[in-house]
Each structure stands twice: as structure tokens, then as C-alpha cells.
Symmetry: C2
Subunit: 339 residues, 2 copies
Amino acid sequence: MAMAAQRPRRQPTLDEVAERAGVSRSAASRVINKAPHVSRATRDAVERAIKEMGYLPNRTARALATQRTGIVALAVSHDDPELFADPFFAQVIVGVSAALEETDLHLLLCLASSGRGRSRLTNLLHTRGVDGIMLMALHGDDPLTHIVRRAGLPTVYGGRPLDFEPQWYVESDNVGGARLATDHLISLGRTRIVTITGPMSTDVGRARHRGYREAMIMTGLTPYATAEGDFTETGGAAAMKSLLDSHPDLDAIFAASDNMAAGALRVLLDAGRSVPADVAVVGFDDLGIAERTDPPLTTVHQSVQALGQEMTRMLVELIAGHEPPSLILPTKLVLRDSA
Amino acid sequence: MAMAAQRPRRQPTLDEVAERAGVSRSAASRVINKAPHVSRATRDAVERAIKEMGYLPNRTARALATQRTGIVALAVSHDDPELFADPFFAQVIVGVSAALEETDLHLLLCLASSGRGRSRLTNLLHTRGVDGIMLMALHGDDPLTHIVRRAGLPTVYGGRPLDFEPQWYVESDNVGGARLATDHLISLGRTRIVTITGPMSTDVGRARHRGYREAMIMTGLTPYATAEGDFTETGGAAAMKSLLDSHPDLDAIFAASDNMAAGALRVLLDAGRSVPADVAVVGFDDLGIAERTDPPLTTVHQSVQALGQEMTRMLVELIAGHEPPSLILPTKLVLRDSA
DNA sequence: GGCATATCTGGGACCGCTTCCAGCCTGACG
DNA sequence: CGTCAGGCTGGAAGCGGTCCCAGATATGCC
């Protein structure tokens, strides 16, 4: 059967429900919102009418009246669309969704890459399309932070931007995690420990580097060598090559991401070093890839789902008018075979 | 400085703009919507006022008046939240976002897993919270399909559900792709070709299996053996083990996903078979993992971003009241080292 | 029984925008 | 110069809710 495109069916309105129940619209509204001051009889009548007519309040109308859309945005800044394919974001989203499930808010996902994407986001915020926003993945001076700050909407940051300290953010304990990793390498008796950092234009990159330095210095060692990567596998490989060149006697490496560790691993093996015998490797993140390398990576685990969840909870609090404290989520060392 | 939670600033309204421009609200509305019948003078005055006041029309109010929210939903049915971490979904989302960027629609992401999640989705649809919906990842009789069909909203399916033929869907050419893969193995001179299928409770699972059978039968071979997997790496490994058990002389395998192929690969190597010398392996999907196995997988490439993009375009058409045709996206064979 | 108090009720004013419509003005034409 | 067809215009009625408030009704107390 040839069937027309599904056009929205007309839903019953509050007025119709009220009429059917033989009460005023206000009364009907009250029972729907479980407001006080409504008699048993009225409540029953309205509830019956609602059930019979299959009434559901229109979101938009309600939003207009209450000035609440019931929608929060998660904005991801990514120059490269491919970057979003990183399991990291998927995990964040899973966490966010889980937390939202306990509320009656919905999730609007904004991949704001290009100028066009950004202006769409700006517009969304200024037209009051969402009640609040969560921001992820910020390098140095991400244009998104400006956009979002100007909008004057409840905002939660996932990780800290570099150029200012947001009042509300959630992040993993990057410094602590990096220290854990480095301390572990030290405890293994390694001394010529190098690090492959993330981009130094990001807070994460710097924090993990700082953790490495602190751990080294604390135990009287001197940071042996550093190469900057970009959190990707190929970036890690490149960094590893240059390190191997400049410091061929290195005996351990802390990579600020598993991706980079994986790249480094490949280069090391290709260079004939055995891992962990010749060189011990520790990564950071523990998002699946760490288990799939050969040998599997010892790494610092951060719970990205928890990150998403806590960001969401925080945002919900903010929207409710409270002022929750910012949060730093613990990380832990996961021992596998690479160190 | 202690700073209060960012509460939304009050935005100017259309009335205020109109007043400032010295015209009626209707006139102002007309220039904003580029409607005809507005004089040069009026337009200029209004446009100036808009610029001066930084006016942006309130989304919600407009939505109420036009009965259009400007939001479309992407619903993903996943029993296991982990499943969403599959890069597949990330790619879909990237495609969807890219297509939406050309419109003024935004993306609402619904991970509708639990009963709670599903009822939230139901509610969203019936309360007219979105203008249309895209549905992904459907096994046999996914409850989502029912929910969505009842809602009577423009709907596009990504892949076909098993229990009915949706009027609008986009999918990859699974049968064709599987044939490509199998034909390739045949052309390599293999004859004892087995397949690890996806769940037979999914259309994708069945279609790829059908492609395999068709290719075999077309060339006069008999389908050698089949084991059902679940598209995951561990599932693929398990299936491989049982196949190796029952048909130790197999010389090629077509796995209906790269994940399963990766699992199978591991089992094969552990069993002392060399790939591709003893056993040739072809996967399906080509979503990154195929390049990272050792040896890298020959596989059938499907463009998941294109899938997302086309779904979105189709939905936009539907919302606009047109009736676009359904689409089947081509797949192609990518030769690497495993076959 | 009278009066204060608490509970319930419906009317109506919003929320901010779109859109229909009747009235006005203009210019063109006969 | 009268008439008619336009283009412009602002008023007002909507979209479908929330919520304040004044009035009506029920309860408690002396």
C-alpha cells in the first residue's frame, strides 16, 4: 500500500482534556503538575480524561511558559571530524546519557567544528534552545569557551581549558595519574625514563607532563627526556622515533595516552627493543586499545563514563540553581604486561 | 571573585525590536522571516534595531507558533551501553552532524536502552519534542520500532528492521559486500570457505550471510560451514574455535564484521595457522580496527559517515513534506594482507 | 450561628512568536 | 478625476501551556 509520509497526528490539548473532565484548564494543569489545592474529585476526573484521550502535555508550549526547554547540550570541539571517533567521546556520551536518564532532560549533541558549526551553536545558546551546556575537549583558547561564556547559560566543563579557570568543571586527576605511572616505572628500577606528552597547548597535556616531572624529581631523578605528541598513535610513533634517536639508552617511557603508547610500542618493537624487558611502557586512559596491543599496556585508568556522569549531575544542579563544587575524579594504575 | 551561577540573561523580544524600530510586531516578524510585503524603509529600520539590540528570535516561541522544533532525534537502541562505544556509531553521528550543518536543525541523541530510556523516548516523540527521528541498530523486533511507528513522526531507518519493511531507510549493500568478499576468496582459489555470521536476528546478519551463500552457489561451490557470531571480537573468536573444531581443513573465512575477523585471526594464529597462507580472512566494515590487526585485514568497506549523512538528508526531505526514495549505499573491497 | 481560616476553583494574563485579515495608501488606468 | 488593483501596515487571534489572583466553598473555633 502506498502510504503518505507520516505527518504528525494532532494530539489532544489541555483545553480539550479540561473540557472533557468538566473542569477549567487551570485545574487540569494543576493535576498534571501535581500542584496542591486540587480536590479528589477533580483529580480523578482529569486523570480519567487524560487516560481516555491519551493526553501528553506539549513540550514546546510548556517550555515557552516555564522558560525551560528540558534539553541540555553537549558540545564537542573538534577540528577533525575523525577525532570524534575516539572512544573517549563515546564513553562520555554513555555517561551523560546514563545520568540524564534519571532526569527528564534530553541530550542535544553539538559537533561544533567549522565556523558554521560554531555559529549554529552560538545561535542555539542565544535563542535559548537549551537549558545548559557541557563542553569537552578544549585546546588552548578554544573559540567555544568564548561563545559559551558570552551566552550566560549554566555551563560545565569537561577538563579545564587553558586560558581561564571555569567555575564548574569535572576532570580526571591527570597529575596524580601521571605520577602513579611514573612512580611505577621508578619502582621497577628504571631510571632513564622518558615521556611522550600530549599537546602542550592543552591542560591535559601539561598536567600529565607535570605529574611525570613531579614523580621524577620527588625521587631524586631528573626528567630524562620529553617529546611532544598529539595523543594519536602516529603522533606517538613519531615522538618515539625522535626519542630513540636522541636517547637510545632510555629504559622506560610514560606516554600520556594509550594511543601514543601503542604507536611507541610499534616503533620500539620495530627497533628491536623488547617490551618490557628492554623498555617498560606505561600509557594513560585505558579505553580499550590498551588491552589490544601486544603486549597489553600497563596504563592509568580514568573513568570517562564517570566523567560524563558527573558533568551531567553538576549541570543539573546548576540548572536547579544550586552551586555544586567542581570535581576531580581519581585515576588508578592498571597493571598489564608492558611494564 | 565569588560569582553566582550563570543565570540566563534576558534577551530582547520581538516586541521590543518592533517598538524601537517604530513599527508593529507583525512588520518586524515579516522582515525577520524575509516575508514579502515589507517596504524598504521598514526593513531597514527593523534590521537596524535588530543589530543594535542584538536580537535573536526565541526558538521555543517560534517552535510553538510554527509547530516545528528544529530538532531531530537519532535513537540508538543498545542493550549494552558498551555497544555504543563501537566506532560505528561515532561515524554515523559524524555523518549526521555534517548533513545537519547545512540545515538549521539540531541533533538530539537518544540512547534508549532500558525501559526507562524507552519511555523517555516515547514521551519525547508524543510530546512533539522533535520534528523527526532516525533509528539505528535494530535487532529482530526492537521495541523502538513500535514506539516510533506509533508516534507518527517522519522516520528514517538506518538499516532495515527484520519484522517489517520501513518506507524510508538507508543501508549499506550488505549482500553485495558479502558477495564481493566471498568472490575474492574464491578468486584466490580457496574452496573450503566458511563464514562467521552476525546475529541471525538482524537484517545485517542475514544479508551478509546471504551474500556469502549466493557467491558460493553462483560459482558452483557449496557453502562450507557457518557459525553465528555477535559482531564482537570475542564472539568471533568463539565462532572460529568451533569452526576450527568441526572443519579443521577450512582454507578461508569470511567474517561478517572486522571485530569478529579480528577475534578469528587471533584464534587462527594461536592454533598455528598462518594467515593468509593457510587461511585467508576477509572482514566487513573497515572502521579502523581492520588496519590495526596483524596482518591487516582485507575487508569490505562501507561508508558509515555517508550512511548518517544520507539518513539525515532523507529525514530533512520527509520533514519538508517530500517523499524521497530509500537508498542502498555501495560497498567496496579493500585489499590488505589477510587475503 | 458567626466569623476567621484553609482549601478549592476558574478567569485571565502571560511566555514570544507567526499569520490571517481588514483597512490604508499608493499608483495606474480609463 | 474616479476607480480599482496592488503593496504595506498593524491589530488581533492563534500556538498550548503555567500561574497569579480574586472569589467561592468547606472547615474550625468560640
